[in-house]
């Protein structure tokens, strides 16, 4: 790690690393205003992670909101032309209710979106970039992958309420409750059994894909998942890849491939994304889309070696000393680390070594 990177906080290092990565793949930076018309969020409320939105009335009387989300704004401003694929990344502050603190927080989020006439190559590229993003920001990471088509195939024809209740159980890996919910809504025993088995399927693609085929057959969704994971394994991401059907979407905006990333030492997911053609349709777009967001605030929770000292060297000087000689001496010491100049030892400051500058000479105290 360069000396430059050492001075950056983990979130800042991540922004720096990810920006470079996305630009390597030709994604263009997307900059937007902090505000958006509130109406956009009302129409797509279920897409938002949290309900709370900070609103205010603009000078023209329009109800505005501080952005709780970036994706909706990007879709709203995207081009909707046949054959066009737009690739953008962003680095923005969003304002929403923190699930941990239960109050509004400014959250730094980075991510990318690939939208328009997307195909399997686009989906692969975005999942690959999600895996690579995790690799660049966390020493040990896991990317959970699922295909919503597998569960959708089993839940076809069910009302949104029932589907929501079942998806909640799947999301919690809660096989016992799933059985009770299915029984309450009169779902066939064989479907219930398959859903319960899906909940407990977890692991590397080589282990899960054969079990999945035995469970639901060679469906299109399974074939997509197999092709995608095989390409990712060939690309060198096999060690971090897991198939996990608890990555679900209760809001029904996502379809196809969905994924979630975890970093060791962080108790919650640090990345989430997937294909969201349904949201595109709802917003009047003909094309599809796939993207993800990295929750940079959560990366700050990765365990770090605590700094032993506030400063490496404390250099004491007397008022009126020769400034040129003093700063030359400090620069000399700076080769060994950080140097703080003080006239007296500050209370509560911790330091590795302390020197005094007297008559042009530096002597240890």
């Amino acid at each position: 790690m360069s000396a430059f990177n050492c001075t950056l906080r983990r979130e800042e290092q991540a922004v720096f690393a990810l920006r470079g990565l996305y630009e390597e793949y030709g994604y263009a930076p997307y900059k937007m205003s902090k505000f958006e018309e509130y109406d956009l969020y009302v129409r797509n409320k279920e897409f938002l992670i949290s309900d709370g939105v900070i609103t205010f009335t603009d000078t023209d009387g329009k109800l505005m909101a501080l952005k709780p989300d970036v994706t909706l704004s990007i879709i709203k401003n995207s081009r909707d032309e046949a054959g066009c694929v737009q690739k953008v990344y962003y680095n923005e502050n969003v304002y929403r209710v923190s699930e941990d603190a239960h109050c509004f927080k400014e959250i730094l989020q980075t991510g990318l979106e690939c939208m328009g006439d997307i195909d399997a190559a686009c989906v692969y590229e975005v999942v690959l970039l999600a895996a690579e993003s995790l690799r660049r920001v966390a020493p040990k990471a896991v990317l959970d992958l699922s295909h919503l088509g597998v569960i959708d195939g089993l839940l076809e024809g069910l009302s949104a309420d029932v589907r929501g209740a079942i998806c909640r159980c799947i999301g919690e890996k809660n096989a016992h409750e799933l059985k009770a919910v299915c029984a309450a809504y009169g779902i066939a025993a064989d479907v219930t059994d398959t859903l319960q088995r899906l909940v407990s399927l977890y692991g590397a693609p080589t282990k899960v894909i054969p079990a999945l085929k035995a469970l639901v057959g060679d469906t299109e969704a399974v074939a997509t998942l197999e092709t995608l994971t095989a390409a990712l394994v060939a690309g060198g991401y096999g060690d971090m890849l897991r198939i996990d059907f608890s990555v679900v979407d209760e809001g029904r905006y996502y379809n196809g491939i969905v994924f979630r990333g975890f970093a060791e030492g962080v108790p919650d997911s640090v990345l989430s994304g997937g294909q969201y053609d349904r949201l595109m349709r709802q917003m009047g777009r003909r094309g599809g889309a796939v993207g993800f967001a990295v929750y940079l605030d959560r990366l700050g929770r990765m365990p770090e070696a605590a700094k032993e000292y506030d400063v490496d060297t404390l250099l004491l000087y007397d008022e009126g000393c020769d400034l040129t000689a003093l700063y030359a001496a400090a620069d000399g010491l700076r080769k060994e680390g950080s140097v703080m100049l003080q006239k007296e030892i500050p209370a509560k400051l911790t330091y590795r070594q302390v020197y005094r500058f007297v008559n042009g000479e530096v002597t240890p105290v």
């Binding site: 699930e99 941990d100 040990k140 896991v142 959970d144 919690e172 890996k173 809660n174 016992h176 409750e177 977890y202 692991g203 897991r242 608890s246 975890f262 970093a263 060791e264 030492g265 962080v266 108790p267 919650d268 997911s269």
Partner: protein, 206 residues
């Protein structure tokens, strides 16, 4: 050094019962069985660390990753909805979440129902499902006396044997949901300590 699986146990009788289940599943920790006031116990050989916490705090320890797995009542999971995996119904600590009222209570659906409870979210969700207008009175204990003193019309609380209700001239008028202890896991720990958690789960299911 062997990677440790951190397990949050609820203090009290239920905790002792579930520790016996963990021990039988191949995760013993002899030091926890000694009578003392310590709260954290380790068995490095097996790779397990247990700690006693307040039952209502288990879900917080697990959600925040201080514990990899833990045992929490379904009442706590329904009330606080922590982002955790609910892996197993342990079938112990069984009771029910119920609505209770003074004996002979006649509900007037034209009036707002005053509900005293420690479980505001469960009560709110239950009555929202019925389209009933309610006034939640959040209390932290001695819920049973609220209707007696006229503070509320009914209470929503955990009922185990019903003795406390009976002694206070109350009776269950509706069961909301059955409750039991659940094995929960942190979503991230489930990925990084998967082998140990799956082993524990398989043993406990068996």
């Amino acid at each position: 050094m062997k990677e440790m699986l951190n397990i949050a146990l609820p203090k009290g009788r239920l905790g002792e019962k579930v520790y016996a289940m963990f021990k039988a599943a191949g995760f013993p920790c002899p030091s926890i069985e000694e009578q003392n006031r310590k709260l954290i116990f380790e068995n490095e050989e097996v790779g397990v660390r247990y700690f006693w916490v307040k039952p209502s705090d288990v879900a917080i320890y697990v959600e925040r990753g201080a514990a990899d797995v833990g045992v929490a009542g379904k009442d706590i999971l329904l009330e606080y909805r922590p982002r955790v995996y609910e892996l197993l119904d342990l079938d112990v600590g069984k009771c029910r979440m119920a609505v209770a009222a003074p004996k002979g209570f006649r509900d007037d659906p034209t009036r707002t129902l005053r509900v005293a409870t420690k479980f505001s979210r469960i009560a709110r969700d239950h009555y929202a499902g019925q389209g009933r207008d309610i006034d939640i009175i959040h209390l932290n204990g001695s819920i049973e006396i609220a209707p007696i003193l006229g503070l509320s019309d009914v209470i929503v609380d955990i009922v185990e044997t019903g003795t406390t209700l009976k002694e206070n001239d109350l009776e269950v008028i509706e069961t909301i949901v059955p409750i039991s202890a659940r094995l929960i896991a942190n979503t991230s720990s489930f990925k990084f300590k998967n082998e140990a958690i799956e082993k524990l789960l398989t043993q406990m299911e068996g």
